[in-house]
Assembly symmetry: C3
């Protein structure tokens, strides 16, 4: 994706703009445009390192750094106390991965290849995990919304920490599952990796520099959220659930679409569903743990997030069940995403 490389020009531009005290909504836009190629660079760096580290550590690195951008942005939002933005971006990442990324992949791939088939077995393992993970994550929220709110206070955070510990434990166990007890299921993907283009030193340097720059740009981005909500008339919730996930995951998304065009629908689906899983099992609990250092954050989603999450997993399960995809299925996923986004915009 060469266009991503050219977008790196926004990194120095954003630094100049910050130096010139540009208005914060301009900083938000520039930071967004910088983070997209930096996240791509980070992904490339991680993949190069995995050629040297072997598939096991490589898989772990890919899993962990795959959502590093998301994690860094959320970290700064958390530090600023923007809990609603953080929670919305967790839900928004899952929705975006399932509806937007899978939708675009199926549309692009389906227009080129008519009907695309994928290995149901592999995708079903992930989509089952996603169902269980989303259900586990949502249960406390579902219960709390039906309870008289005044009865609850500090208990919220206690329950969130328990859920976060369980989710994180499942994340660790799923690594054990993938890399030790059931590694044969995933063996197909491992073979496709090819050879390294960069030296290990270059790869590590790129990774470190990209991470640092993403951190800086994330601070610009988060600093501009309040201003954007005023200037552009968007709600904080809309920024969190629609914009931030698109910014944080754009690089990953483009990879999924490229894979769909290459008729590797399995890989495209694994990226979309796998990335959603990592958000729920890794990013969300880590953010809860980090929040204990500042002000404890509960992962109790609001009704909108719950509905959107439940819609997303129902669709993910249906889609994976099928074993096939075509352009019309892609259009329908995108239609649901557009309707959800339009509802959030209007409400």
């Amino acid at each position: 994706m060469k266009i991503l490389k050219y977008m790196l020009i926004f990194v120095p531009i954003s630094f100049v703009a910050e130096f010139l005290h540009a208005p914060s909504y301009i900083m938000f836009i520039l930071a967004a445009l910088s983070i997209i190629p930096l996240a791509g660079l980070m992904g490339e760096g991680t993949e190069e390192i995995s050629h040297y580290s072997g598939p096991k550590i490589g898989g772990f690195l890919n899993g962990t750094f795959g959502n590093a951008t998301e994690l860094i942005i959320s970290f700064f939002a958390l530090k600023q106390g923007l809990f609603d933005v953080v929670k919305a971006s967790i839900a928004g990442s899952v929705i975006g991965n399932i509806l937007l990324v899978l939708g675009l992949s199926m549309l692009a791939g389906g227009l080129k290849h008519k009907t695309q088939t994928f290995n149901k077995k592999v995708v079903e393992v992930s989509s089952s995990m996603l169902l269980f993970a989303v259900v586990g994550l949502c249960v406390p929220a579902l219960f709390t919304h039906t309870v008289d709110q005044s009865l609850l206070n500090t208990r919220y955070e206690g329950l969130s920490v328990i859920v976060a510990i369980i989710m994180f434990a499942i994340y660790v166990l799923s690594l054990v599952f993938s890399f030790y007890t059931h590694k044969d299921i995933y063996s197909i993907n491992v073979e496709e990796e090819g050879t390294a283009k960069w030296s290990l030193k270059k790869a590590i340097t790129v990774l470190v520099v990209a991470t640092v720059l993403i951190a800086i740009e994330s601070e610009f981005l988060v600093g501009g959220i309040e201003s954007v909500t005023h200037s552009l008339g968007l709600s904080e919730f809309f920024v969190g659930i629609i914009l931030i996930p698109i910014i944080g995951n754009a690089a990953e998304h483009s990879t999924a679409i490229v894979m769909a065009l290459k008729n590797k629908m399995d890989v495209a689906m694994e990226i979309a569903i796998g990335s959603s899983l990592q958000i729920i099992l890794f990013v969300a609990p880590v953010l809860v743990f980090i929040s204990l250092l500042f002000t404890p954050m509960s992962i109790v989603f609001n009704e909108f997030e719950l509905i959107a999450l439940i819609v997303a997993i129902l669709i993910a399960n249906r889609v994976s069940n099928d074993g096939e995809s075509n352009w019309l299925e892609g259009v329908q996923l995108l239609a649901v995403y557009v309707i959800i986004a339009a509802s959030f915009f209007i409400l």
Copy 2:
């Protein structure tokens, strides 16, 4: 279905009754008994025309006229401002198709053929589409029910128009899918069609006359709704969600059951699921567009309709997933329908 032909006697009876100023609940009953055979005649006329027009235009005609009765009844209800009846009948058609029609088909077919199998592939395409369509249609309603109602006013209709445009676009795209890019999936059904029994002229005449008569009877029917709710103690909601869908779809329903008895379970399921799809992707948006000429109608379903719709698609997905049906499955679908209808009756 010869019995349908004999029921045409209610058409002249209803005209005489109207001439004699019969009470409007009598007109409601006579109109209902007239519409059932007229809808059957309309279906027959459409099918005959499709023998002359070739499968492409024929498929389109079948799709469009298949729910014409529903559309005409709803048109007059809309004109009278009976929005709740219109919305209830949209939801009721989907529920009736999935639970009542499929239930009766599986029961009747299962008693005769023990275990009936159907082509999972074809049915899964439709039931996936149904899931996405219902979800898309329900998302605005789900969101609005969780929002403080006073915050919303004209925005409702704006969102409904967006959803209607998206649904209608998917309807057009699904025709492109069925008749151009993926026509081979549906080729099996096309072959079974046989030859024309009527001349083209006769077919067109029948279609036109049936449509005109249905329009007149629909006006009688809608005119009697208010009176029925008073005389028989039924709620408008019950009339909309249970009675009108049964009246509007009875002819189609009998075809599905006949197909199930002939052990063509695929066709029976396609009728039930396909008809539900057309209601959501074609009838509902067209009604929203027409309503803009009078008073704009929002397609925000109430909680009862939402629950019933979600139940119906969950069951449709489960049933299609199976690849098999038997009489007990039919009994269970009917049981869920009876429980829903009883709840609506009591509440």
Copy 3:
């Protein structure tokens, strides 16, 4: 399961404790520890009788006595007017069977056998039935929660009786399905039964004695519920939805796990899903009918029970769809159960 036999020592201990007027929370614990082995004995007795009665009556006896313990405990709770405990224990049995029992079975079996496969066809029939049954059972509750509570009063019970009659009718029809019209589907299980170890007389004696003792212990248990909620700080709801189902089903649960360890995952799943089905189609309606003798009980679940039930059937459907299980899937089911239980404990 030899350990179950040793636990029978708690039966005389509980009688001595009752004689010495032990505090009622002690009686609750002793009764719980007595009921577990007695339920196991009752199961053994039923199975022995079925060797003499032939598979048809045997299957019926197994089905009916399989949940006798649950029924007896609920009977005494009903007599004491503890409606919330009864309803919670119905929901809790379904949740416990699907999440706790299946989770433990998959974990235990998966650790020993890596990936376990099961006959999708058989399990899908049961899990479809479970979906329809839960949906039918929940529909009245879903509707009533969205209605202004003050509008409803005696209508509740009327609707509950209708639902109970329909559920019971489906139970009877499902016996007709299993033992007459479609008995071949279940033929595999029948062959595995082996020969009788006990004489018919001994089997009947054991069954009668166990039933009588369970009835006495259930009265101790129910009598201690109020005291337990005070002494141990548990809510009645928690006792009903978590503790009572574990006590009532422990013996059955251990059988499922033993089957999973023997790599008979089909049997383990049939126990868990079949037992849930019997709770809904047999135990729940019978309790409604019995309640008409005392104070009529409605089966309108509260929001917590509804959410937990819906979560459980979604997961049961997903799991059965798969055709395979492994330890990670087991861990995830257990995680959802722990999160639900923790939420109930905290709320």
